[in-house]
Amino acid sequence: MLSNKRRTRFFGLFMERCASHSLLKELRPSVSGVGFVYGSEYLRRNNCGCKMNFSEVFKQSNQLCKVSPDGKYLATCVQYRLVVRDISTLQILQLYTCLDQVSHMEWSSDSLFILCAMYKRGLVQVWSLEQPDWHCKIDEGSIGLVSSRWSPDGRHILNTTEFHLRITVWSLCTKAVSYIKYPKACQKGIDFSTDGSYMALAERRDCKDCISIFVCDDWHLLRHFETETQDLAGLEWSPNGCVLAVWDSCLEYKVLLYSLDGRLLSTYSAYEWSLGVKSVSWSPSSQFLAIGSYDEKVRILNHITWKKIVQFEHPAVIENTKATVYKEVEKRPAEVRDEFSLHNVTMDSTLFSTQSKYEICSLPVQIPAVKPDPDRANPKIGVSVLAFSSDSRYLATKNDNMPTAIWVWDMQKMSLEAVLEHTLSVRCFLWDPCRPRLALCTGNSKLYLWSPGGCVSVQVPVEGDFQVQSLKWHCNGDSVILLGKEQLCLCYMDTEQEEKLNL
């Protein structure tokens, strides 16, 4: 694997992985290798020896870049072209040409097919990885297309038409088409259970919200029931597929929990009158349901009584806590150049940009907060994003009126673990699918990583302007795909060494 990587044109970085807080303060890598740019490696070794390699950049458009579910391939769209690469070598395996610029792209669950949707044209094209000559084109006609997705079996395509008139289910096995009427246009109106056997769909009939549960196997309508919502905003299956969480629009704080068989298990409402639920997320263990709301709090419900067990607040001033507050501090490039010394004269372009590092702040700390305009709809306040780590141990949250900060909560201690404050607003944060490790980006040329051991910011060593807009983890957690505006770059993390060290 490593040799393969080396064969491709890489430049790698030994970056710090700060195992302890004290190490964080010294982000001064000592140079242990010779610096090259493109086609060679320069190595920087730190105290832990965690290595980070960065691939060269590739073009992409519309941030369309996805790793196949089996983790072997990388599909990217460049205008109307679909490029499939081997993830290990990054060599192009297939190249497909679509009819127009692709607006949505998705791998089938078996990693054999790729769906490319062109919403403006109302077209969907499906490509086979095994049979490059095989082709499939679905034309939704003049009815229009706003959303297209695979069914979990990878043999059906669900297209939502314009104005949410209906959902068309196309079978690639039989060419059969079926329709689902009355889908509701809302935040998250459709969700498949994790094992792919059931689909929950929010509907609106006779001015009433209802939910249909389909068996994905043959699109048999298993259950259909009305919900006690004013204006259903979203639904989400618990990871074990037995409980469906349904929440009302922000005008009313209401979360309903339905069993797979349509029984109402519980209703939860924290308060009345003011704006309510903003985000909902299940823990991977299905034990906890985290609800982020406009009152800047996260409430955690348990899976036995469906009552609140804890409430996490996001205060502007952090004090009286055992949490570590990391603050990103920018360094002037001049100093940086001194530090990086003579060895890397060739890689100026990246080094001239501002460097930054995390510093641990002593409490109390004031987190910069924006006061939202009360006269405008959808105020920028409250917890909009919630994410549990893969082991359900940590919960990361973002409060919209403190856009530069990410809060990490420990679900065992039920307390605040860390706060990461950045110089820019956080664009995207995602947990490593295998370890408790959080990657995030703020729209600059840096990748930020948090793990229980510490926190680090890494400059992406790429020539030219590369601003990380979003990122995606590889399913094995060994690499992250960094997506710029029109480019992408892979960051490989050599976690084997790390794990050895941890052992």
Partner: protein
């Protein structure tokens, strides 16, 4: 006070009672003598009898012993009786005087008291007035507050009404809004339906799928017909998943329960062991007490026994028993621990006291030891101390030396300053000497045989001198400033001369000025002063005019002043 006043009243009454006969008598028989009292004496040889009778009457009225009776010799008065009577009278008089005095005093006191009361009264009246005013003010305020309260209450009521109204409006609007929403939604649905229909009917661009060849199912199976069987199968599947989930959860819970039970057992065991050990200790005491506690003992035993039993039982009854026994044991343990705590505290206090005592003891011992040591090793320590003292002394001395050195330097500097000052002084004295010489010269000149009237001559000579000097000045301009300086340098000497009181001195001092040849302006000033000081101004002017004639230098300013 009131007593005395009563007494006084009584007296007054008695006096009044006593007066009518007296008045009567005086009016009837003593009209004459009374009237003539101012002209002549009360008793004459002629009216002796009348007087006697009058006096007798008076005396009897005063209830004194009569000094004269009919029985006695007519012509001769009983002198002793008279004297006694007089004495009595005098006594009476004294007494009455004294009472008068007392009464006056009393009167004074009373009047002052009355004054005091009056002032008090006025004061109180003022106070009453003030409090009345305050009261009215407060009443006014209360009234205002009442008004305010009323207005506030009314406004509150209004607000409440307003709120109610607004709530009604809101609810009605919400109702309306909901209705509208529903209407719109229905409309939207209709439109959607219609759109769907239209799009379905439309020929030009239909929904199509263009597939090279159909794919097999992901699981490789053939798709099945939709039958009731499949439906049942789906239901079955669903319930199976649900059931498996519940089973899983139950297993988890059972596991957790087991763990908890284990923990509880352990706790129970420990509790029992603790309590048993205590019980054994207590048993001995109990045996002494005997009998009474046997019932409770049994109970306790039962508790312990039942706990053993209940560990194996998991039914509801057992649970109740178990929890009860646990609770009981827990309570006992708690009390036991509390007891232990209190015992511990006592123990601690005792130990602390002991420690304190020990400390004190040690301290006294140390003290004694030290004293002993100090007495025994006095000689050794003395030498050491001496050394130390010597060193200290040395240090002290060096410090002193330093300070002295400093002082010496200061003295040196001062000495230098002093010599400089002396030089300056000698220089000044020299200048002064010169001045004096000049002055003496003038004095000498003034005393010369030409001067009966010394002033004009002096002035003349001065002006002459001035002229010569100015001439020199005009010729040799470069030397002028020097002269000026010299004049300016010695203002003291001149001021001294000016301050000398005698007019002659003053004049001469003034006369010096032109000689010294300071500015003309200055001269004029000085002359003005001079004018004001002197009375023989015209003379002076005349003389000045003469001098002007003599002088070739024009003294325009002097002219203007004159």
């Amino acid at each position: 006070m009131p007593d005395s006043s009563q007494v006084k009243d009584a007296r007054r009454c008695s006096v009044e009672c006593g007066t009518p006969p007296l008045r009567h008598f005086s009016q009837s028989s003593l009209a004459l003598p009374r009237n003539s009292q101012s002209l002549r004496t009360f008793c004459t040889e002629h009216n002796m009898q009348e007087c006697l009778s009058y006096i007798k009457q008076e005396v009897s009225l005063l209830s004194l012993s009569p000094f004269w009776t009919e029985l006695d010799d007519d012509s001769q008065l009983n002198v002793v009786a008279v004297l006694n009577c007089m004495y009595d009278l005098i006594q009476l008089h004294h007494r009455s005087l004294r009472t008068l005095e007392n009464m006056e005093m009393e009167q004074l006191k009373l009047s002052s008291y009355v004054d005091n009361l009056k002032t008090n009264n006025t004061h109180l009246k003022e106070e009453v007035e003030l409090s009345k005013r305050q009261n009215t003010g407060l009443l006014e305020r209360e009234r205002q507050l009442h008004l305010k309260l009323k207005s506030l209450q009314s406004s509150l009521k209004n607000e409440k009404d307003e709120v109610q109204k607004l709530q009604n409006i809101i609810s009605s609007r919400a109702c309306q809004y909901n209705h509208e929403m529903k209407r719109r939604e229905r409309e939207l649905n209709k439109l959607r339906e219609r759109l769907n229909q239209l799009l379905a009917d439309k020929k030009e661009r239909k929904q199509t799928i263009d597939l090279l060849n159909n794919l097999g199912r992901a699981d490789g199976k053939r798709s099945l017909w939709k039958t009731e069987k499949t439906e049942a199968k789906h239901e079955e599947e669903m319930y199976r998943t649900l059931l498996s989930d519940y089973e899983l959860r139950q297993r988890e819970l059972a596991l957790e329960n087991k763990e908890l039970r284990k923990v509880m057992q352990q706790i129970k065991k420990e509790m029992v062991s603790i309590l048993k050990s205590r019980k054994l200790a207590l048993k001995e005491e109990k045996q002494e007490l005997n009998g009474m506690q046997t019932a409770s003992d049994d109970e306790e035993n039962e508790v312990f026994d039942s706990s053993k039993e209940s560990l194996e039982l998991f039914c509801i009854h057992a649970r109740e028993k178990l929890t009860n026994s646990i609770r009981l044991q827990w309570r006992r343990l708690k009390s036991h621990v509390e007891k232990l705590d209190s015992q511990d505290k006592e123990e601690m206090d005792r130990l602390k006291l002991e420690i304190q005592q020990c400390k004190d003891f040690i301290q006294t011992q140390q003290h004694l030891l030290q004293r002993q040591l100090s007495s025994s090793i006095d000689q050794d320590s003395a030498s050491l101390q001496n050394d130390g003292l010597m060193l200290q002394e040395k240090m002290h001395l060096s410090e002193e030396w330093k300070s002295l050195e400093e002082q010496r330097r200061i003295f040196e500097r001062e000495r230098r300053n002093y010599t400089e000052a002396a030089i300056r002084l000698s220089h000044e004295r020299k200048i002064f000497e010169e001045d004096r010489a000049l002055w003496l010269k003038q004095q000498f000149l003034s005393m010369s045989p030409f001067g009966n009237s010394n002033q004009p001559h002096l002035l003349k000579s001065a002006s002459a001198l001035l002229i010569t000097e100015t001439e020199v000045g005009s010729l040799n301009a470069s030397e002028m400033p020097h002269e000026c300086q010299s004049v300016l340098v010695s203002p003291k000497s001149r001021s001294v001369s000016l301050t000398s009181s005698s007019t002659a001195d003053l004049e001469s001092a003034l006369c010096l000025i032109p000689e010294n040849g300071s500015s003309e302006h200055r001269k004029s000033e000085l002359f003005e002063d001079f004018n004001s000081l002197h009375e023989n101004v015209p003379l002076l002017r005349k003389q000045w005019k003469e001098s002007k004639d003599l002088s070739s230098h024009s003294l325009s300013e002097e002219n203007s002043t004159s």
